[in-house]
Amino acid sequence: MSSVDYHSNPGLKARLAARGLDSVTLLVLPAIALLVGLFVYPFLYGLWLSFNPKDGSLLGNYFKFFSDPFLYDTIGTTLKLAVPVTILNLVFAVPVAFRVRLMKNQRLLTTILVLPITLGTVLVAEGMLNYLGPQGWANRIMMLFGIISSPVKLTNNYWGVMLSLVITGFPFTFLLTLSYISGIDPALEQAAATLGAKASARFRHIFLPLLIPGLAITFCLSFVQAYSVFPSAVLLGAPAGPTRVISIAAYQAAFEEYDYSMASAIAMIMGAVQLVVVAFVLQIRNLFYRGPAGGAKG
């Protein structure tokens, strides 16, 4: 009589499967290869490069960056653009998303709003140069109605870059915000109303606390996008002065001075600044409720 031993330990395959490792796990390999090849390796290479400057010292690039105002001022210049732009986008996106959430035909509006993303920053910048320039429609219409007497300078300065960042960044911010707002169970608002909460109280006590974690994430993603501004800062701004953002400094180091090591150091500093801001915002987010925004356990 042949008997199967039921009591011995399960085989290696079964033990791996119990830990979530089976042949399906192999499907993540292409993604891992891509991630390592296109992100992890270039990042580590850049990090290594930044510590191997022309003068041979370990921290030469970093000393150079933080001792030259022409270089270290770019951090502040970029923050001065990216932070207000991100806040402005959020301030615009929340009320619009609140209205759109109730609309039946969301798709048309969403399509219109997504178009600027597909156009790309360069095309938007070119269009704005014409539209907002001294002879552009914006100035001509304002002059026609007597709001201004001579053309206002809206391009090749801080405001031109800021406007273009708002225009290209808004759809992204809006779509993220809309998805977070739509994720809040409408019954919660109804419940608050039956308990006597007026619209403003419903926003303050129900929507806002449930929305803040999502808005924090939206802020981070929008901020990172705005902080790495390059084309519009060059095309619409004053790249030698008020809109000399950090990516321009990195570009100049790499392709005008051919100092890749310095360019890598600037890129690392840029990443570090973004990381600090993101970490700060996420820390604030931790103070709020972050669970599901549905009414029931689900």
């Binding site: 109804q190 419940a191 039956t194 308990l195 129900i206 449930l210 599901p292 029931a296 356990k297």
Partner: protein
């Protein structure tokens, strides 16, 4: 200001209607409800019962009609000024607030002083027996506990009217029975009006003082649970109230409400529930009132198809000669294929006109 509990006597719904495009989801709901009454709106899904509740709560605007609390017209007020308590089907608890804050929300919105509000919240927590859970977030509670929080949150403001939208439908069977008694107890303690929406006839029968049966947005019958259980006014109400057997028959004689009908050649006695146009009628009877006898006398002959043990007795399905499916009660297990004679209780056999 929101109406207070102390003064009102009657809630009056006067022709409340709601259209969605060309669809009349609710037509002419007219009803007077006295203080202290527990009213169930009962009907299959899509009958307009939830629409009615949302119209009363102000979550849906009415298309026509008016809602009065005594002399005060309420349907023109926004939800937050009506001052009704509502228990939602999915509870709609605020996930970022503790149990205590959820329950206290309505008091906070009404500007009740903190000390008084805290005392009332504690009392409500006690009423729904949630003492040890007060500091938790809703996500940490079981379904039954969430249900209690939702009820406490609605009643702590002492509303003149509590609206409940299928509040037990997400609970398991045992908890549902328990919560029924809780809801009835809380209603009695509050002394206000409760309007309770459900599709479950057992729930409506056990909870309500008065049941309003809705169908296609219209009232089909209003009555006490006893009325509806024993004397449904229409065939569709009867079916909904558990008269599962619909037996086509010919009318033989009628004197007053007492009728004699012919089912496949067998003469049966029953009670007429409406006027008939011809002699084609439908006899309706609950499975519990159709009994498989031991002899073949006076019963409807039918071939047993399946039997089911219920503990105290058996429940069976059988097919009559003309193909009508019959559900019946039996004292023993009959074999499938066996012919039985099904005897109807004449007092429980209700006869309706066949022309629908």
């Amino acid at each position: 200001m929101a109406p207070s509990l102390s003064s009102f006597k009657t809630l009056r719904l006067d022709g409340v209607s709601r259209d969605f495009g060309t669809v009349n989801a609710l037509r002419d709901l007219t009803l007077n409800i006295e203080r202290g009454e527990f009213v169930a709106l009962l009907g299959p899904s899509g009958c307009g019962k939830s629409t009615a509740l949302n119209c009363i709560a102000g979550l849906l605007p009415t298309s026509r009609g008016a809602i009065f609390l005594d002399d005060q017209r309420l349907d023109i007020l926004p939800t937050e000024e009506r001052g009704f308590g509502m228990v939602f089907q999915n509870y709609a608890l605020f996930p970022h607030m503790t149990v205590r804050d959820n329950i206290g929300f309505g008091l906070k919105m009404r500007g009740i002083p903190k000390a008084e509000a805290a005392a009332r919240v504690e009392k409500a927590i006690e009423t729904v027996r949630l003492g040890t859970q007060a500091h938790k977030l809703p996500g940490q509670l079981s379904g039954g506990q969430q249900q209690r929080v939702a009820i406490a949150r609605a009643i702590v403001v002492e509303p003149p009217l509590v609206l409940m939208d299928e509040p037990l439908s997400n609970l398991d069977a045992k908890l549902r029975l328990e919560m029924r008694q809780e809801i009835r107890r809380i209603h009695a303690g509050l002394g206000s009006i409760t309007i309770y929406v459900t599709h479950d006839q057992d729930e409506a029968l056990s909870l309500a003082d008065r049941i309003v049966v809705l169908r296609d947005g219209m009232i089909r019958q209003v009555g006490t649970p006893e009325d509806l259980y024993a004397r449904p006014a229409h065939l569709d109400v009867a079916e909904f109230m558990g008269f599962r057997n619909r037996i086509p028959a010919k009318l033989k004689t009628r004197s007053g409400d007492a009728v004699a009908i012919d089912v496949n050649g067998v003469l049966l006695q029953g009670i007429a529930r409406e006027e008939f146009k011809g002699d084609d009628v439908i006899a309706a009877i609950r499975p519990d009132d159709l009994f498989a006898g031991e002899t073949n006398e006076g019963g409807i002959p039918a071939v047993v198809e399946a039997m089911e043990y219920r503990g105290r007795d058996f429940f069976g399905s059988a097919r009559a000669k003309d193909g009508t499916e019959l559900f019946f009660r039996a004292s023993r297990r009959h074999a499938p294929g066996e012919t039985v004679a099904l005897i109807a209780d004449p007092a429980r056999l209700l006869v309706y006109g066949a022309a629908q």
